[in-house]
Amino acid sequence: MPAAFKHITLATLSVTALASAAHAERGSQGDLSLIYWQAPTLLNPYLASGPKDSEPASLVLEPLARHDETGKMVPWLAQSIPTLENGGIAPDLQSITWILKPGITWSDGSDFTADDVVFTANYCMEAESGCQMTAKFTDVVGVQALDPLTVKISFSKPKPYPYAPFVGLEVPVLQAAQFADCMGANALNCSAQNLAPIGTGPYQISDFKPGDVVTYDINPNYRDADKPGFAKVTIKGGGDASGAARAVLETSEFDYAWNLQLDPQVLGQMKTAGNGQVVSSFGTAVERLQVNLTNSAADLGDARSTRNGGAHPFLADPRVTKALSLAIDRSTLIDIAYGDAGRPTCDVLAAPAIYASGANDACLTQDLDAARALLDEAGWTDSDGDGIRDKDGVSMTMLYQTSVNPVRQTTQDLLKAWWAEIGVATELRAIAPAVFFGGDQSSPDTYQKFYADLEMFTNFFPGNDPEPYLNNWACASIPTPENGWSGMNVPRYCDPDYDTLLAKLGNTVDIAERIAISKQLNDMLMQAGALIPLVHRGEVSAHANSLEGVRMNVWDSELWNIADWTRAK
């Protein structure tokens, strides 16, 4: 073969294969392997069942804006974040207008336009589609493409925080052409599309075995010619958290392991092998005790655990819940059960930092004497000498339930021992997660029916606007038999002042004022004793020492900046 001809052939090959040979950086870092022990089963975040699916999808599908590792919004497929100042948000707060970055193409080479964004919104808002992100489109009345690069989202009422649609990993843009036949009831049957969506991200899916492994190669049309660094990515699923941690920290078979909530001693010992490091990041998740402010006695029948059944014999008294909270040594609890994955907190709204109240921090130090004094003051003394406080023939014995999970059972044991020291008896119950968190109307064991005195689980809010989260404790959100036990106001807390303040938050635009109101709402909940926050929970992952560029991010996908990851030489 003549040298010149050979040269031309090679040049053509490289043009078709990659963007151009001049950008030597792209794909120069070799292969990257990640382990997600909860295996991804579906790569369409609108139908997915949580981060185990939406994070692997985030290599391919991208939203208009993301959150960086500090929780700040950064434009992604949009040119900039729309604000009131730059005119992106209408003065009446009823619409937001996003300008897309020009020149972006899908991995199949077609243009990414405003029509794709409009399509995605309609796709999710269509009834019967089984879309799980409908809450992100609350109050959206219309999404229009003003021109190929401009999208206007209109709301039915003023939205002080209009950044729910298309911001963050759960609400990326789907390709209209690919999903055209998947509207409404067809959405759930589009196997091929849901398992291999076409995206604008740095990678495209080359093979996906649901529940087992995803492999990716570089999106040849990715907008940054120098990125991504790694040529091939593999996300392997299966096993358990300790096996995943071992594969990164001890045997170095993998570069990155996700979601390692493990016994701190186990993780600490694995770290000593010196092959990798553990990274953590704190979002809004708080492990808390929900206090049943209503009476859960079984003999109340249908009125059990409802406001009609009357107040709880002792937990409705804020002095009692305060005493229970003071008896807990949160630092010890974290040392034993959470390690790097927890920080003590006394606020249910513990993050972002600007929203943390701090007014309730007295509970951070355990004070058994103060707790005993509070119970004495409330009139609960051990009059019959059985070691358990009582009043008017009622003994302070509580049923404390949670889901089956080793960390939660350790926590239950510790709390039971501390409460025994102040003369409160506790009966423990652990329920299978699929039942406890399930919506089975016939089961008496769901967290919403709450046929117990205390229960424990974690809740959080995505993004960084706490308004929908604080809405959880409005009177209207109390689960009752009438509303089919739906609603997140599990403590059955109802205070008209709280509802009034909540309504005010919904109409406030000024960020400083929103922060002040949010803190005040948090403090009202804490002082009423509706919730006892225990641990501000972080996400823990591990990566190999040789992997560079990881910016652990709890506000968005942990893999949000994977295009920048490199291998240390």
Partner: protein, 336 residues
């Protein structure tokens, strides 16, 4: 023989239909919610809509008949289409879809089958190959040192659970010595010498552990059966006729002793295909067993229903095979 097989197969059809309905009923009665694993930030209305979209609101009988239609009519038609390239009926007919992955259940199973067959199947074969000679020799030299050693090792295989043994071998051979990988790579395709070695390296730990367990079980059966036969009159007759010891032991005693062991082996095969749930989990093999357990955890009823039904089919089928093998091994048994 053929009429016997056909009669047995015909009998098994109503049995299997009854089993499939029983499984469906049991699944329906169990407290279960596929939306339970969703993040808490997803509101109740969305969950209700999703359950509706999955068809959970339909009456039990309608859901059962739909599954039957999809599994007994649509799936075989699709299979025929794939096999012959001809099209049969409506190409858009609905298949049995998993709730968790929205992928056809049959394809999920097909993806999981290779690794299960490689690891669990190979360990079963290996287990049998070890167990039979060990069982025969242990019985022949009962109370000898080999018998004691064999008993000791099979007791370990029996009594030490694989979730303990598995972690121990991972810590020794993967973490400390770094000889074998601790995670099974299902994307590996054997194309040459190197990839074959990689495949062997990743299989050696799970296969050894499972083979030990299988060998322990089967060798105990073989030994017991041999001991029973060794003292029969026909053995004395054979010896008196001047048959050599190997001939007495192998051709006479072992052949007769195999009868009950064949049943045990045949009935163990469906368990092989069901995967070794714990071992698969420990070595991250993601075979059939892992598919079953993860589907149970996520409330993925179509997958659990289909898998459980397939296991039932296998058990019925291998019962029949065991009976046929009986006839082949023992001329006294005739089905005609």
């Amino acid at each position: 023989m053929l009429t016997y097989c056909l009669r047995r197969l015909a009998f098994s059809v109503p049995v299997l239909i009854f089993i499939s309905f029983a499984i469906f009923l049991l699944m329906d009665m169990a407290p279960n919610d596929p939306t339970a694993n969703l993040p808490m930030s997803i509101p109740a209305e969305t969950r209700a809509q999703l359950r509706e979209a999955l068809g959970m609101g339909d009456p039990l009988v309608a859901r059962y008949l739909l599954w039957c239609k999809q599994f007994f009519i649509h799936e075989p038609l699709n299979w025929l289409t794939d096999l012959t390239g001809l099209s049969f009926g409506d190409p858009d007919r609905l298949r049995v879809l998993s709730w968790a992955s929205r992928a056809p259940v049959v394809e999920l199973i097909a993806e999981r089958l290779p690794q299960t067959l490689w690891v669990v199947g190979l360990s079963y074969l290996l287990g049998i190959l070890i167990a039979l000679p060990v069982g025969i020799y242990s019985a022949y030299r009962q109370h000898g040192w080999f018998d004691h050693l064999g008993s000791f090792i099979s007791m370990i295989g029996y009594s030490v659970p694989s979730f303990f043994l598995g972690v121990v071998v991972i810590v020794i051979f993967a973490v400390k010595l770094n000889w074998f990988p601790s995670v099974y790579d299902t994307t590996l395709t054997v194309t040459g010498w190197d990839s074959l070695m990689d495949q062997l390296r990743q299989m050696i730990m799970p296969v050894t552990i499972l083979a030990l367990y299988n060998a322990a079980q089967i060798s105990r059966f073989m030994r017991a059966s041999m001991l029973e036969n060794l003292h029969h009159d026909y053995v004395r007759t054979a010896r008196a006729k001047g048959a050599s010891e190997p001939r007495v032991v192998l051709a006479h005693v072992a052949r007769n002793s195999l009868l009950p062991v064949v049943t045990v082996i045949a009935l163990g095969v469906p368990q092989v295909l069901a995967g070794a749930i714990i071992t698969e989990q420990i070595f991250k093999i993601n075979g059939i067993g892992e598919l079953l357990i993860s589907s149970i955890q996520s409330g993925d009823l179509p997958v659990v229903q289909t898998l459980t039904f397939l296991f039932a089919v296998l058990i019925v089928l291998f019962n029949l095979l065991a009976d046929i093998a009986y006839g082949l091994l023992d001329p006294r048994i005739s089905y005609d």
